[in-house]
């Protein structure tokens, strides 16, 4: 019974982290699916989302707003707006001018953008940790008084529900809406979509904006969950989400969701049964193994060379 509770606790922790990895991973996978490029500044977009949410929360507190739903919704909207416009601007400034060049050029441009954004936040907000208020506290506890207590916090429940809503909304958007249909067409054959009169530039911008908005949601959630942010906040999370995207099959949206969850659970199981210090080792070993044995990922399809 104790063992089962302990295991469940690791599973819950893993799914919590994993679902936020999945939210960030979608941004990588959508951009890759459409223009075949890794947006390495995506982690920074997520970090900026977290900072914006924090600024909004602090601002509301100084105005005397105390009703939690209002604070959360306003913070979420601010974070999504700022991150989305950042995602849009990054595409215009750093990627569009070099699109269609040799593959290394947009990669370098992406890394440059990432360094720029990190340092910009360093300058604007300082390099130290800033505390993020834990707005959602408390939770359920399971287990007897003296043995291991399993806890499921309200914060974790919030993360699950929010992620679920975002994923459902995104899936519906891609499957049903006109823009989603155009997104799928562009990702299958950009040249043909262009010839049929689809404004492919607009669709590419849309994928950056959607990915950034989801990253901002993850930024707010993880900011609250971890309780602090710093300018390097996006770096590791970005790498993890990238790993999740590759694990699930880069270019595939369900793959990113699955990859995120698997990675999160693998990490928390490592922390729970081995040692917290090994969790990054495990996630990047997973990345290497996937690249070696199944480079297309779990749900990715092998790329067919077009003649």
């Amino acid at each position: 019974m104790q063992d089962l509770l302990y295991f469940s606790q690791q599973l819950i922790n893993g799914l919590t982290i994993g679902s936020t990895y999945a939210l960030i991973a979608i941004g990588y996978t959508m951009v890759y699916g459409i223009i075949g490029m890794i947006n390495f500044a995506h982690g920074e977009i997520y970090m900026i989302g977290a900072y914006t949410a924090l600024i909004a929360i602090t601002g509301l507190a100084s105005l005397g707003v105390a009703w939690l739903p209002v604070i959360l919704i306003v913070a979420l909207i601010c974070a999504m707006l700022v991150s989305s416009s950042m995602g849009w601007a990054v595409e215009r400034v750093a990627y569009r001018p070099v699109r269609g060049r040799h593959r290394l050029i947009p990669l370098i441009s992406a890394i440059g953008m990432s360094i720029f954004l990190q340092n910009y936040v360093h300058l604007a907000q300082g390099s130290r940790n800033i505390g993020f208020p834990a707005l959602i506290e408390g939770g359920f506890n399971f287990g007897s008084g003296d043995g291991f207590q399993m806890s499921l916090s309200y914060m974790q429940i919030t993360i699950f529900i929010t992620t679920l809503i975002c994923m459902t909304a995104l899936s519906l958007f891609i499957a049903r809406s006109r823009t989603g249909r155009a997104c799928r067409a562009v990702s299958q054959d950009l040249g043909m979509a262009n010839l049929l009169g689809i404004d492919t530039n607009r669709i590419i911008s849309a994928t950056f904006v959607i990915g950034a908005a989801l990253a901002a949601v993850a930024g707010l959630l993880l900011g609250m969950y971890y309780g602090s942010v710093d300018p390097l906040f996006g770096f590791i999370a970005g790498l993890k989400a990238f790993t999740a995207a590759v694990l699930g099959g880069i270019g595939s949206i369900p793959g990113a969701m699955l990859g995120g969850l698997i990675l999160g659970v693998a990490e928390s199981m490592t922390s729970g049964y081995l040692s917290g210090e090994y969790k990054d080792v495990i996630s990047f070993s997973l990345l290497i193994l996937i690249l070696l044995f199944k480079p297309t990922g779990l749900l990715g399809k092998p790329e067919v060379e077009k003649i």
Partner: protein, 251 residues
């Protein structure tokens, strides 16, 4: 409608197309034929904006279009197919036709989220047009199949339907009969003639299947090794000595 004047295309040291002229008038089917490697597809690629020609002029509806980007040219009402099928193979048959009408629709995201009456009306119209063309090319029952699962001949017809929902004035088909069996070729033949007769579309065609070309073309241009060899009605081409030599070799 389309006038190609002295078109040349040079790739480094290779002159792939040399002083080729083609014109297509309203309500006309014009074919370009020639042995393999004659430069037919290169001519197509220049017209549709894939290549920027190194010489000559291309006029569409009186407007110079040479060197313009492909998407701008296609918006003027000229749409093409390729030698190999290029459908969105992971989307359904009907989605292929809907996505081709994307630019005719009001794609304002807000209108889409709010589902304004105008948005619904346009969506309904595009669905009706898709339905009409699916019926026309005999694919209505397969509307919800994944396009990649259709038989080859059906994929070819779907491609033509996808061109037609964009309501073009000029349809450019690059070897539409390639890989089709005689029965399918016959159907295609009737479809192309009906596009001209019933929908007032002009057609520029590259094709190897001589019975198809001779049967439906109003005029034929023959090119050989990048240079124009002959042009005229099917009857004139059939009797042209140069053409016979190019196809059969010197006797």
């Amino acid at each position: 409608m389309l006038e190609v004047q002295n078109l040349s295309m040079r790739f480094g040291g290779l002159l792939a197309v040399d002083q080729v002229s083609v014109d297509v008038r309203e309500h006309e089917i014009v074919s370009i034929i020639g042995p393999n490697g004659a430069g037919k597809t290169t001519v197509f690629n220049c017209i549709s904006g894939f290549y920027k020609p190194t010489g000559g002029k291309i006029l569409f509806q009186g407007q110079e279009i040479q060197g313009k980007p492909d998407y701008k040219i296609s918006r003027l009402g000229m749409v093409r197919t390729f030698q190999h099928v290029r459908l969105f193979s992971k989307m359904t048959v009907v989605e292929n036709l809907l996505v081709a009408q994307h630019r005719h629709l009001n794609t304002n995201l807000l209108a889409g989220l709010l589902k304004t009456p105008d948005y619904r009306e346009r969506e309904k119209k595009s669905l009706e047009r898709a339905r009409y063309w699916l019926d026309r090319v005999g694919l209505l029952e397969m509307a919800n199949w994944e396009a990649g699962n259709l038989a080859y001949g059906q994929q070819r017809r779907l491609e033509i339907a996808r061109c037609m929902v964009t309501e073009p004035q000029l349809l450019m088909l690059d070897e539409p009969a390639a890989g089709l069996n005689p029965a399918e070729t016959k159907e295609l033949d009737q479809l192309i003639v009906s596009l001209k007769e019933d929908y007032n579309v002009s057609v520029l065609l590259i094709e190897h299947d001589m019975s198809l070309v001779m049967g439906i073309s109003d005029r034929i241009n023959v090119i050989n090794q990048g240079r124009p060899l002959a042009s005229g009605t099917p009857e004139e081409i059939r009797q042209n000595d140069d053409v016979i030599k190019a196809y059969l070799g010197e006797a």
